[in-house]
C-alpha cells in the first residue's frame, strides 16, 4: 500500500509544493527561497494551531468541569480566538511608569523569536525538516535556554514585586527542569548515537510484527518519556507546575504588567513552547512522524506528527483540569531529589540496555531496576516530605 503513488504524493505534498514554488526562481536563489518558504510555513501553521488550541483548551477544560465552554463566537465557538485576537490587538498597551521600557518591550519578542527558532530542527514529516543539523537536539535546547532570559527580562523590567517574584520562580524552575529534560533526551541519544532529530526518527521508524520500534515501548524509553513529560510540563509552566503565574499567590507572575498585544505575545510564546516541546518529545520517544502500526504507514507522515503533538497537548490540558499546583520548594525538591536521580539512574539503565544485547534478559533486568527504583524512591520522597494517607477517628 505504501507504494501507492497517490499516498506517496500526499505524504510528500508539502515538499512537492515547496519544490514547485521554488522552481520558478533562478537556481542560485532556490536554497534560500526553500528555507524561506519553510519559515513562512512554520510561522503560519503554529500560530494557527495556537489559536485552535486556545479554544480547544477552554472547551476541554469546560467539559472536564461539566461546563460547555465557549460556544458563542462562530460555529461551536471556533471563532473565539479571532475575537480574542481582535480584543488583545485593540486593547491599550500599558507600560508601568517606572518600568524599563526597552527591556519591557523586548521581552515578549525575545520569547517568541527563540521559541520559533526551536521549530527549525523538528522533523514534522518525512523529508519535512527545515534545517537538518548534525547537532539538532543541541540547537533545540540552546534555543530553549534562551527563553529563560526573556522571562527574566519581563519580570525585572515591570518593576513589580509580583512580576519579579514570578520571574525568579520561573527561571529557577526552568533551569532545574532543563537539566532533567536534557538528561532524559540523552538516553535516546545514547541508543541512537546521533544528535540529529531526523536520524532519531529514522531509527524508530521500523516495524517488527506490525509494531513500531518506538522508544517509549522500552523500559528505559518509558521511564525517560515520563521524566521528559514531567520536565516538559515544568519547562512550559503548565499545571501542576504553573507556579510562575500562580494567580492565587502572584496575581499573574512575570506577565502581570503586560497588556494588550504584548500579553498576547507571551501567551503565544507559551503555547508555542508547548508545541515545540511536545514535538520534541514526540520525535524522541513516540517515533516522530512514523505510524503506530505498520499497516497504517500509508497515512501521511505529517498527519501522525501533528496528531501526536495534539494528543500530548490534550494530556497537558487534562492535567491542568485535574491537578492543583505544587509549592516552590516542593517543586525544587521534586526536581533535584526525585526526578533528577531517577533520570540519572535511567541513563545507567539505558547503557545497560545498550550493552546487554538482544534478548529477553535485558527487558526483565531493566524493568525490575526501574520499577524497584521508582517504588523505593517514591516512598522515600513521601517519607521525607512527610505526607501520606491518614485515618480519622470519630467522637459519638
Amino acid at each position: 500500500m505504501a507504494a501507492n503513488p497517490f499516498f506517496v504524493n500526499l505524504d510528500q505534498i508539502f515538499v512537492l509544493l515547496r519544490n514547485w514554488l521554488v522552481g520558478f526562481l533562478p537556481v542560485a536563489l532556490q536554497p534560500m527561497a526553500g528555507v524561506l518558504l519553510g519559515v513562512i510555513a512554520i510561522v503560519c501553521v503554529f500560530p494557527g494551531l495556537f489559536a485552535l488550541t486556545t479554544v480547544f483548551e477552554r472547551k476541554g477544560l469546560g467539559r472536564i468541569q461539566n461546563r460547555i465552554g465557549p460556544n458563542r463566537v462562530g460555529p461551536y465557538g471556533l471563532l473565539q480566538p479571532v475575537a480574542d485576537g481582535i480584543k488583545s490587538l485593540t486593547k491599550e498597551d500599558i507600560v508601568p511608569l517606572r518600568a524599563n521600557a526597552v527591556v519591557h518591550f523586548l521581552a515578549p519578542l525575545v520569547l517568541v523569536v527563540t521559541v520559533f527558532m526551536g521549530f527549525a530542527v523538528l522533523p514534522m514529516g518525512r523529508n519535512m525538516v527545515l534545517v537538518d543539523m548534525d547537532a539538532g537536539l543541541l540547537f533545540f535546547f540552546a534555543m530553549g535556554a534562551a527563553t529563560e532570559l526573556s522571562v527574566f527580562m519581563a519580570g525585572w523590567s515591570s518593576r513589580n514585586k509580583y512580576s519579579l517574584l514570578g520571574a525568579m520562580r520561573a527561571v529557577a524552575q526552568m533551569i532545574s527542569y532543563e537539566v532533567v529534560l536534557l538528561l532524559s533526551s540523552v538516553a535516546v541519544v545514547m541508543i541512537t548515537g546521533s544528535l540529529s532529530l531526523p536520524k532519531i526518527v529514522a531509527a524508530q521508524n521500523q516495524y517488527s510484527n506490525g509494531f513500531p520500534h518506538w522508544y517509549i515501548f522500552t523500559p528505559w524509553g518509558l521511564a525517560g518519556f515520563l521524566t521528559y513529560a514531567i520536565a516538559a510540563t515544568a519547562e512550559t509552566n503548565r499545571s501542576p507546575f504553573d507556579l510562575p503565574e500562580g494567580e492565587s499567590e502572584l496575581v499573574a507572575g512575570y506577565h502581570t504588567e503586560y497588556s494588550g498585544f504584548k500579553f498576547a505575545l507571551f501567551f503565544l510564546g507559551e503555547y508555542l513552547a508547548m508545541f515545540s516541546i511536545s514535538g520534541l518529545g514526540t520525535t524522541l520517544f513516540l517515533g516522530g512522524w512514523s505510524a503506530p502500526f505498520s499497516f497504517l504507514t500509508w497515512v501521511p507522515s505529517w498527519f501522525w506528527f501533528f496528531g501526536k503533538v495534539m494528543l500530548s497537548i490534550f494530556v497537558f490540558i487534562w492535567m491542568r483540569g485535574t491537578l492543583p499546583r505544587l509549592r516552590q520548594d516542593q517543586l525544587m525538591n521534586f526536581a533535584w531529589k526525585f526526578v533528577l536521580p531517577f533520570t540519572l539512574l535511567n541513563l545507567l539503565v539505558t547503557a545497560l540496555w545498550r550493552f546487554m544485547g538482544d534478548g529477553w534478559q535485558r527487558w526483565v533486568v531493566c524493568t525490575v531496576i526501574l520499577v524497584a527504583a521508582y517504588v523505593v524512591m517514591g516512598r522515600l520522597e513521601m517519607r521525607s516530605e512527610h505526607f501520606g494517607r491518614r485515618s480519622y477517628r470519630y467522637a459519638e
Binding site: 514585586k161 496575581v251 491537578l323 492543583p324 516530605e385 505526607f387 494517607r389 459519638e396
Partner: protein, 390 residues
C-alpha cells in the same frame, strides 16, 4: 538576608514550623495582599512581612465590608433583622436564620412545632453540605486547580440551591425561618426532590474524594502546613471544623442539644494533626455525617403545623431580659446575643460570627510558612467576608 536566630518550638507530637526573628526590619519585603487580590475571598487585606518567601509577620486588616449589621439590628424590629442575617454568611443563610430565630425564641419563650424543627434540621444540614463542598472547592482553587473541584462542588450546590429556591423563594437569601416555626410548609414534591438530591450526595462526595483525597500534590501541599494546636485553638475561641480538625471534640449540636439533634444518629469526625489536610478531611467526613442526618430526618418528618399558632410575627415586645442563641453553623459556632428592654426593638443585638473568631489565629498558623501556604491556610479557615466584617 541573614536570619540570626531560628527558634524551633516543639510540643510533643506537634511540629510547629520554626519562628524566624529577623535582625533588621529594613531587609524584609513588605507585601500587602489585598484588599484586591485574587485569593482573599473578597475585600480582606493581609499585610505581610516576608523574608524571602517566608512569612515573618502577618497583620490581618478587615472592615472593608463593614455594614453596621449590629447597630442596624438595634434600630428595627426583631422581624426586620431576619433578612439581614441572610447577608452575614451569604453561603449559608438558613443556618444564620436558625441561630437568630433561636435567640428570639429564647427571648420570648416561644415553642417550635416538631415539623418545623425537622424542616430546620433538613435545611441546616443541606446548608452544611453545600458550604463544605464549596469551601473545599475554593481551597483547591487556591491551590491552583483551575476550577475543576470548584465546579463539581458548585454543580452539587446548584441542586441544593434549587431546593432552597423552590421552598423559600430565593437561592441564597432564603429568609425562611420565623420565630416559632418556618414560613412556608414543605410540599410532597419538594420532599421527593430533596430525597433524590440527598441520594445523589454520597456519590458526589465519593467522586470528590477520588479526585482529591489521595492526590499526592494535595497531600504534599496540605499536610503539616498551617498547624493549629488544640490549646491555642481553645484559647482563641476557634470553633467548627477548624477546632475539630485540631482534635477537640466540640460540636454545638452535641453539646447544646439545640433543636432536635438528639434524635439523630451521627458522629463527630476529629483530626489529629490540626493542619490543612485535617480541616479538609474533617469537612469531607462532616458532609458524610450530614447526609446521614438528612436521611434520618427525611424519613421521620412528622405531619403537623409549621408555625406555632400563638407565635406573633410583628409587634411583640419581649420582656426585659437577654438571650443567647447559638447553633453549629457550617463554619463554626454562630451565636446571636439579644438584650431586650421591653421595647419593640432589641436593646442590644450582637452576633458572634465564627468566621471572625476563626480568623484571629491566622498569624499564628502562617508564621514561618511560604506566601503560597498563607493563601492555603487562609482558604482552609473557610471564611466569608460578610460575616467577618458584619
Amino acid at each position: 538576608m541573614s536570619v540570626t536566630d531560628i527558634k524551633t518550638e516543639r510540643v510533643a507530637g506537634w511540629n510547629r514550623p520554626p519562628v524566624i526573628e529577623p535582625d533588621g526590619e529594613g531587609e524584609l519585603l513588605e507585601v500587602a495582599m489585598g484588599p484586591h487580590h485574587p485569593s482573599t475571598h473578597g475585600v480582606f487585606r493581609m499585610d505581610l512581612a516576608l523574608d524571602g518567601e517566608r512569612v515573618v509577620r502577618l497583620k490581618p486588616v478587615f472592615g472593608y465590608l463593614h455594614r453596621n449589621h449590629e447597630k442596624l439590628g438595634e434600630g428595627q424590629s426583631y422581624l426586620a433583622s431576619m433578612p439581614y442575617t441572610d447577608r452575614l454568611d451569604y453561603i449559608c443563610s438558613l443556618t444564620n436564620n436558625w441561630a437568630y430565630a433561636l435567640a428570639v425564641e429564647k427571648l420570648v419563650g416561644q415553642e417550635v412545632p416538631e415539623r418545623a424543627e425537622y424542616i430546620r434540621v433538613i435545611l441546616a444540614e443541606l446548608t452544611r453540605v453545600q458550604n463544605h463542598a464549596s469551601s473545599i472547592g475554593f481551597l483547591i482553587q487556591e491551590m491552583g486547580a483551575s476550577g475543576t473541584p470548584l465546579m463539581y462542588a458548585f454543580k452539587e450546590r446548584e441542586k441544593i440551591l434549587d431546593l432552597f429556591e423552590s421552598l423559600t423563594g430565593s437561592r441564597m437569601m432564603c429568609n425562611y425561618m420565623r420565630f416559632g416555626g418556618c414560613r412556608v410548609d414543605v410540599s410532597a414534591p419538594w420532599l421527593d426532590a430533596t430525597r433524590k438530591v440527598v441520594a445523589g450526595l454520597p456519590v458526589f462526595v465519593d467522586e470528590f474524594e477520588a479526585l482529591l483525597s489521595s492526590n499526592e500534590i494535595l497531600m504534599a501541599r496540605c499536610q503539616g502546613v498551617g498547624i493549629l494546636r488544640p490549646e491555642l485553638a481553645i484559647n482563641a475561641g476557634v470553633s467548627g471544623p477548624m477546632l475539630r480538625a485540631s482534635g477537640v471534640n466540640y460540636d454545638v449540636r452535641k453539646v447544646d442539644h439545640y433543636g432536635i439533634y438528639d434524635r439523630f444518629q451521627f458522629r463527630v469526625p476529629l483530626g489529629d494533626h490540626g493542619d490543612i489536610y485535617d480541616r479538609y478531611m474533617v469537612r469531607i467526613l462532616e458532609m458524610r455525617e450530614s447526609i446521614k442526618i438528612l436521611e434520618q430526618a427525611l424519613k421521620d418528618l412528622p405531619a403537623g403545623p409549621i408555625m406555632d399558632p400563638k407565635a406573633k410575627l410583628r409587634g411583640f415586645r419581649p420582656k426585659p431580659g437577654e438571650a443567647y442563641g447559638r447553633i453549629e453553623a457550617p463554619k463554626g459556632e454562630l451565636g446571636f446575643y439579644l438584650i431586650s428592654d421591653g421595647g419593640p426593638n432589641p436593646y442590644r443585638y450582637r452576633v458572634r460570627t465564627p468566621s471572625l473568631i476563626n480568623l484571629t489565629i491566622l498569624e499564628d498558623m502562617c508564621l514561618g510558612h511560604n506566601v503560597a501556604d498563607v493563601v492555603l491556610i487562609f482558604g482552609s479557615v473557610d471564611i466569608v467576608l460578610g460575616e467577618v466584617d458584619r
